[in-house]
Symmetry: C2
Subunit: 446 residues, 2 copies
């Protein structure tokens, strides 16, 4: 690629049979696929064929409510991505893991393992776990307060990065003749003594190929955005309109200087669920077909959990009733859903349909050209550095995106035609963090 | 296989460049291999070529002492085995994980994920983590007491098995037409309220292919053996002589009736490190070559940690000095090492050589026939149901075992010539645990 045009980044957000709530009922879909490794391998290989930067798995540590009505992703993401690492070569592998219900030693080690196994392709979507049900699987009655969760997340990252740095890049010598395996001066305890964690270290695996895995975040509250501005290198976000997207983009980028970072150090990736047709009519028909498979009882149950309000008996063809105010656990999703319902005066049924596509993420039904136009607009108008692609059905929805939309983006010189880097950080154009424990530093200090 | 002879079970215990302490310095070995996925994939595929029951990775959650002198296994075992699952078909995959420093919800889920990803090939070596350094990576000053660790292990297993059973085998319906994805009656919270854990459940992944992963254990203390007798289906153990092996075997099998189990419900697998030569002289020469690569300073440092006594300045050509008594953390290893030194009146240098091969496991240097003879003797004389094969070097030592010893065991009709089962439990001839939450039980209860 000789073009010097600023390049888009594309991440495939992979979820069971697809992101549309009724995906598993669509005739193109085989529901049992979502429980097999082969399904995810095929999807990862499709992403790789499309030269996408990465694939991504969301995660929670409790069974989602309403599983009676809806397929769910069965596998723990780090385990699944390790399997996928063995049968892919280029695509980045981003796993979600919670700082609220994990220990930094375990997670730092698992991400370092995945990064080495994959030759430098690991990414971590750092979440603080907003669910109540998650707390109840980990010895608690209710989730810790929002501020406490972010406080813990912040200390968790301090520990994890110190553990990754506990081996200098050049610590392993492995000189068979002299019998010196490692430079013990280059491997140091971290002796972390904090409020949430006391961790001695060092880690029992050397520094990751990428230094650290790519650090991704998706919080939208004040604390979430500050946390992202301090630590994250990519942010997933749900934005419905260009204007909202531009506002979020500006907001987030403006926070970086406080932490001595530049706007390019953090990439903003809004979600988009593309329903693709050869003609616009075909796309709309496809969308209607999916919406026709929605189970309204499930929609009401989902809305009830999103808004922490019992709507299971609400009238479907009336507007959203008064649902009070957001709680500390659901602020951003609450504002997004209530905002959408009020702004467009939607009935509950319409609201359910609007959310079914992407749970609050933007759904766009159109031709490959229309979808590429919208991507280009957000990208050039200051709302996005790339996109979190959420195929409505899987694997078909990603095939369509890779076969029809990616070539159009390549024609416009917005997207790579070959991988030019080897690691996930290289795909995203992000630097490898320097080694704060290197022998060089030591010499300077000594 | 038409033979009805009782069949041996063979597990490959995989460790970095091999089990001999100086393996990484051997000219056949490439030290950097141990840090690559390809190395372990090659080994797993060799085990599969040899029709072995399983491969196994040990684990600890702290950096081993003395890494300056010795290569170590870098990868977290569940992550590594998931990658291996994607490129193997038959061989069982046994990962070590600690009940002392993990949460049951996470581990139950990860093992269920590995079991589904691999089509029913997951096994769990349950350990209680005897190291002091491990505690210091998890907010503690020192390891919890031995009895407390086993008490937690026992409750941990109760929670994990309840979580695996929280989905009935037939809970997923996935009927596209009616829109019913799962039978919500067949997925139940576990509402565990215990001393160490409060876990609501249900698990967020359906019941494992094998019901539960194969449950393996390796404790040798009284509590360790009782725990194994109650919960384990295979036991790894270090036994130096046939007589000791027979004593351990009898002891363990006799404990099973107390728990309503039969002697066949638990398999005993002693460790053996085979140093293989075409002639006995060649094998002995190979052993001497490996021992010649030992770094005595490393040996002294290792002995010091095994015995919790500083021996780093002890004289190498004198007998083992007085080392006091075992502490609660090192009982079985202590007895084994001190017993060996006293029984055979070894100097420290000789003791170091004896331990370098298998850290207390039996090392046997001989021809394929001699090794097969010893395996057959232990197997038929009531000391073993199979073996934990610990190749001195990797991958070469496993190639030799598979190419030279396995065919000899097959000729004697002691070992399978083809896989006859699909799952790890089937390889070991162990039953799939019944589903205590099945719809049938419910009907009876209603
Ligand atoms: C695209 C996207 C993916 C997300 N994935 C997860 C996830 O996998 N697990 C999770 O617990 N939260 C996930 N979240 C939620 C956020 O991490 C965060 O908890 C939520 O936006 C609330 O933010 P706040 O706590 O800063 O208010 C995701 C959010 C977005 C926009
Ligand atoms: C073959 C074998 C493998 C073992 N692997 C591990 C391991 O991976 N991690 C670990 O912490 N302990 C391991 N152990 C140690 C035992 O789990 C146990 O902690 C030790 O034998 C002390 O037993 P006790 O606590 O019952 O006295 C292993 C022991 C044997 C014999």
């Amino acid at each position: 690629m000789t073009s010097t045009t600023r390049q888009l980044h594309l991440n495939a957000f992979v979820m069971s049979n697809g992101h549309h709530e009724a995906a598993w009922r669509h005739p193109d879909v085989q529901p049992s696929d979502a429980l097999t490794l082969q399904h995810y391998v095929r999807i990862a290989q499709t992403a790789e064929r499309g030269k996408l930067d990465s694939i991504f798995f969301a995660d929670g540590v409790a069974l989602p409510k309403n599983v009676a009505f809806n397929g769910h992703s069965a596998f723990e993401p780090l385990t699944l991505l390790a399997a996928i690492a063995a049968v892919t070569e280029h695509v980045g592998l981003i796993a979600t893991a919670s700082t609220t219900y994990n220990e930094p030693y375990h997670l730092a080690r698992k991400f370092a393992s995945l990064d080495h196994l994959s030759g430098g392709r690991a990414g971590w979507n750092i979440v603080t776990s907003a669910g109540q049900d998650e707390a109840r699987n980990f010895n608690l009655d209710k989730r810790p307060d929002h501020s406490l969760r972010y406080e813990r997340a912040s200390e968790f990252l301090d520990v994890a990065t110190a553990l990754w740095d506990s081996w200098a890049d050049d610590a392993v010598i492995a000189d068979q003749a002299s019998g010196v395996y490692a430079d013990s001066e280059a491997i140091s305890p971290i002796d972390h003594q904090g409020k949430h964690f006391q961790v001695r270290g060092p880690l029992n695996i050397r520094r990751p190929v990428q230094g650290y895995p790519l650090l991704v975040q998706a919080g939208s509250s004040e604390s979430g955005k500050e946390f992202a501005a301090r630590t994250a290198e990519a942010v997933f976000t749900a934005q419905q309109t260009l204007k909202e997207g531009q506002g979020f983009y500006r907001d987030l980028k403006s926070r970086l200087t406080t932490y001595g970072r530049s706007p390019d150090d953090l990439l903003v990736l809004p979600g988009i669920s593309p329903i693709i047709g050869r003609t616009e009519a075909e796309a709309k028909e496809r969308e209607a077909q999916l919406n026709g498979l929605i189970n309204p009882a499930y929609g009401l149950a989902q809305l009830s959990s999103m808004l922490d309000t019992d709507l299971t008996h609400a009238a479907l063809d009336e507007p959203l009733p008064d649902v009070g105010n957001a709680t500390e656990g659901n602020q951003s999703r609450f504002d997004l859903v209530v905002g959408l319902a009020r702004r467009e005066s939607l009935t509950l049924r319409q609201l359910i349909e609007r959310l079914a596509g992407g749970r609050g993420h933007r759904v766009i039904a159109g031709t490959p050209t229309q979808i590429a136009d919208s991507i280009e607009e957000w990208f050039t108008e200051g709302a996005a550095d790339g996109f979190n692609i959420m195929p409505p059905t899987l694997p078909g929805g990603l095939d369509d995106f890779v076969d029809l939309v990616v070539p159009e983006l390549q024609r416009r010189e917005l997207f790579r035609t070959e991988y030019t880097g080897r690691t996930l950080r290289e795909h995203y154009g992000l630097p490898r963090p320097a080694d704060r424990n290197s022998s060089n530093d030591k010499e300077t200090a000594a």
